[in-house]
């Protein structure tokens, strides 16, 4: 009786699940339901394949909403195709080299080698990748099903819209990648020349606003160049020129030269093929599109006048005619100028900070260096003994011995001082920021990326701005250390605070604590 009830219960269970699988799959639920069940029971063989996922994994996964698989299969296929395209790229080169009697044999063997290797890898990646996708597809689909049961907004069912999106992604990514793989590496100079020609054509078009198009421009420029040349020739023919004629002659010469150069550039521009332009734009380095006027070149200087009042004086240099810079250069120059300004206007603050740091460094340093070495060593050992264990103490002892024997004691003490001061600064600055960050969402939003960046940039590079502001000596070293050591400090503080369990906070509140 009870077993029967049990069987009934199990039956009901399975039915219920089938219904939910049907709601999840929408189509072909009778294919997926048994597979899911076998997978649950651990009876799904490793070689079980989803045929569609083998044939067109990206289409299948987009259709079913298994985006993880979509990206992985796309990546695998792209890798395979890129490898195979290498074969396509090198085959004609090989044929050429074989036809050429003078070709050196190393080139032939290298090409053959490349073709073989890339071919093998390409096919292997393609086939193994597909097989892997096929065997993995239903498992991932099952994971998705489980996630969907918890969170009904997870992608489920089948959707032509998703399929369309997948196809769109493939269309955007694949052709250009494939094309790139078939091309040899581009000549950077060619792209640079292209940019130069394009720019000069643009400025010429601005000058010759009556010409309709570039070919017309070409002729117009040529004509003008010829006219200038003719003027020059005419003036040149005069044997005894007046001073006036002399200036006119050299003006005509330089005009003819400039126009000639422009004409050459226009010609060059006309000669750029569509394909070269495409290659340079999409395949070469990211195109720096904008050319800007450089920022005003200002130098700030502190000047003390006769009354002893110091003020910041700005000196503007005249701009260099026609100089254009990229966005990068523009930013670099602006930063340069603003650092200059900061340094000039807040010299007092920087000096004060440097002073504070230097003074505290000196104090600590003195404390370390003037204490007789046996005392310092003894203190270190006692400290490590009380706070850690035997092992660490032994390590500290041997390190101290090393420092002493290799005559590094004084330097080590200086470094110690630096570390102590940096740590103090870290705690004083880092702790409040950490707490603030834990309490405040916006603060977290702002500080987190900054901290990440601080942590990823090598600490040596902090030295550069620090030196710029504080001059060369120990204080900038302290700052660089602080910048390096602070992010973990802040992050751990924030983490620690945020990890206080909800119930503990609640209890504290219940007894009259503030939210803090």
């Amino acid at each position: 009786m009870s077993t029967q009830a049990n069987i009934g219960a199990e039956q009901r269970n399975i039915d219920e699940r089938d219904v939910s699988i049907e709601a999840f799959c929408v189509t072909k639920a009778d294919y997926y339901a048994p597979i899911f069940e076998r997978y649950q029971r651990g009876q799904l063989p490793r070689w079980h394949m989803n045929i569609w996922a083998v044939i067109a994994p990206w289409l299948w996964s987009a259709w079913r909403g298994v985006w993880l698989m979509f990206w992985i299969s796309l990546a695998i296929d792209v890798i395979a195709v890129v490898c195979l395209m290498q074969v396509v790229k090198f085959t004609p080169l090989l044929a050429e080299a074989q036809l050429d009697p003078d070709a050196n044999t190393t080139l032939i063997s290298r090409y053959t080698n490349w073709i073989n290797t890339y071919g093998t890898i390409g096919w292997a990646v393609l086939i193994l990748g597909r097989l892997w996708m096929g065997s993995q597809a239903n498992r991932w689909y099952y994971d998705l099903y489980n996630r969907w049961r918890i969170e009904p907004s997870v992608a489920h069912g089948v959707s032509p819209k998703r399929l369309g999106l997948g196809v769109l992604i493939i269309l955007i990514c694949s052709p250009i990648t494939t094309y790139r793989a078939t091309q040899l590496r581009l000549d950077e100079r060619a792209c640079f020349n292209q940019v130069r020609a394009t720019e000069s054509v643009e400025s010429l078009l601005a000058q010759y606003h009556q010409v309709p198009d570039v070919p017309a421009l070409s002729t117009a420029v040529r004509e003008d160049a010829a006219a200038a040349q003719a003027r020059f020739d005419q003036l040149d023919a005069i044997s005894d020129r007046t001073a006036e004629q002399n200036t006119a002659r050299s003006a005509a010469r330089s005009e003819a030269r400039d126009l000639g150069r422009s004409a050459g550039l226009v010609e060059e521009y006309l000669a750029i093929s569509k394909r070269d332009r495409f290659d340079c734009f999409f395949i070469d380095d990211f195109p720096t599109l904008a050319r800007l006027d450089p920022p005003e070149d200002v130098t700030y200087r502190r000047v003390t006048d006769e009354d002893g009042i110091t003020e910041v004086v700005a000196q503007v240099k005249p701009p260099v005619e026609g100089r254009k810079v990229t966005l990068f250069t523009y930013s670099a120059e602006s930063i340069d100028i603003s650092i200059n300004w900061l340094r000039a206007s807040f010299a007092g603050a920087f000096d004060a900070m440097t002073n504070v740091l230097r003074q505290s460094l000196i104090r600590v340093e003195v404390a370390f260096m003037q204490t007789p070495w046996p005392v310092v060593a003894f203190l270190f050992l006692v400290l490590s003994w009380t706070y850690t264990g035997m092992g660490t103490t032994a390590f500290v002892a041997s390190s101290l011995a090393f420092l002493a024997l290799f005559e590094l004691w004084q330097i080590a003490m200086q470094t110690m001082a630096l570390v102590v001061v940096s740590t103090a600064v870290c705690v004083f600055v880092g702790l409040p920021i950490g707490i603030w960050m834990a309490k405040n969402k916006i603060a977290r939003f702002i500080t987190e990326p900054i901290l990440d960046v601080m942590q990823t940039i090598p600490s040596l590079s902090y030295l550069v701005p620090a030196v710029a502001f504080f001059g060369i000596s120990q204080p900038p070293a302290v700052l660089a250390t602080v910048v390096f050591a602070m992010p973990p400090m802040i992050k751990l503080t924030a983490l620690g605070i945020r990890q206080v369990p909800e119930s503990t906070k609640e209890a504290a509140l219940a007894f009259g604590a503030s939210e803090r």
Binding site: S503, T504, E506, A507, A508, A510, F511, G512, A513
Partner: protein
């Protein structure tokens, strides 16, 4: 103005980002829990709860897991803001209180014991107990003194310098209780304080708490999912189901007249011996004489008072074959014979 210490009036709590919309929809269309979840992704935690607790009374909130007991009780010290309705403590609406006044209220008037103890792990037991006092600005010396007194009350003398993690669950729960008592609050909120303990320790602590509340006379809201506990501890009991309070009454009311099947199910297994009074089951003398036989006043009938429980009646009945006469101030008010008594014990007094 009423003299109730805690007064909860029409409190709703809906969890979710769209709680207000959901509330409006409930008010307008009277939609149910499931629909609220579907349409607004919001969970109805408490549904239109109202009750009062008088001074010195122990009010038990009872219900199955997830019925919203913890949620409701957290409204009393406003750890949770109600979506609708009002909460008055000592006649004052705490929904309108400013933060500092609220903190003062929590620190001085309301003590809370938590389901999961929620002791602060980095503080010693003594510092945990003195926490509310410390927040109140009391100096360390007096804090420690009061904390030690509270420790004594829960018979944990000498454990003040331990960390909470060094104590057993039962001891931790006593620390939680001591923490709530230390500040000498007028109101105690106890959220399943004994649920996580084994039956023996639980009984012990229950007895201890009963002893304490006898002496201290604290107004208490006591949460439990165990009816036996509710009956032992509570002067009155409120039964919750799916966020709603379905019945409020004394243990006897609830056992003899359950409001619906849910409550009836709850009380089905409960022993009625100590709960039900003679007054609930007795038959009036007229009815008794009409149906059975005349009472022979000459004979030595056993006698009892209307408020005596069934246990007493059973005891009396075993010594005599005659029905028990229920007398109030010397006047005969009812009769209980063996049939009536057995029915009463079984729970079908209405025949």
């Amino acid at each position: 103005m009423s003299d109730a210490v805690v007064e909860i009036d029409g409190v709703w709590k809906i969890f979710g980002d769209r709680a207000d919309e959901a509330m409006a929809a409930i008010r307008a269309d009277g939609i149910g829990k499931a629909e609220v979840l579907e349409r607004f992704q919001a969970v109805v935690g408490v549904k239109d709860a109202s009750f009062k607790v008088d001074e010195g009374e122990v009010f038990c909130l009872m219900g199955l897991s997830g019925s919203g007991k913890s949620t409701l009780v957290r409204h009393i010290n406003r750890l949770i803001e109600p979506t609708a309705g009002s909460v008055r403590i000592l006649g004052e609406d705490i929904g309108k209180m400013r933060q500092d006044a609220l903190r003062a209220l929590r620190g001085t008037k309301i003590g809370m014991v938590f389901q999961n103890m929620a002791l602060l792990p980095h503080r010693s037991v003594r510092d945990n107990i003195g926490f509310a006092l410390e927040l109140r600005g009391m100096d360390a010396y007096h804090c420690a003194q009061l904390a030690d007194q509270a420790l004594e009350t829960v018979s944990l003398h000498g454990y003040g310098d331990r960390l909470p993690s060094e104590l057993s669950g039962g001891m931790q729960q006593r620390v939680g209780l001591a923490r709530a008592l230390a500040a000498d609050p007028e109101i105690l909120l106890m959220d399943e304080p004994f649920s996580a303990l084994d039956p023996l320790i639980r009984r012990n602590l229950q007895d201890e708490f009963l002893g304490l509340s006898e002496n201290l006379k604290k107004t208490t809201v006591f949460i439990t999912h165990d009816l036996d506990e509710a009956i032992r501890m509570g002067d009155r009991i409120g039964i919750m189901k799916d966020g709603e309070i379905v019945q409020i009454g004394t243990a006897e009311d609830i056992v003899t007249a359950p409001a619906d099947d849910y409550v009836a199910d709850f009380v089905a297994g409960i022993s009625r011996l100590k709960l039900v009074s003679a007054a609930k089951i007795m038959v009036s003398p007229e009815e008794y004489q009409a149906r059975r036989k005349p009472i022979e006043m000459a004979m030595e009938h056993p006698e009892a008072a209307p408020e005596d429980d069934l246990d007493t009646l059973v005891e009396l009945s075993t010594h005599s074959d005659l029905p028990v006469l229920i007398k109030s101030d010397g006047a005969l008010v009812g009769v209980v014979d063996k049939n009536t008594l057995l029915h009463g014990l079984q729970g079908s007094a209405d025949e």
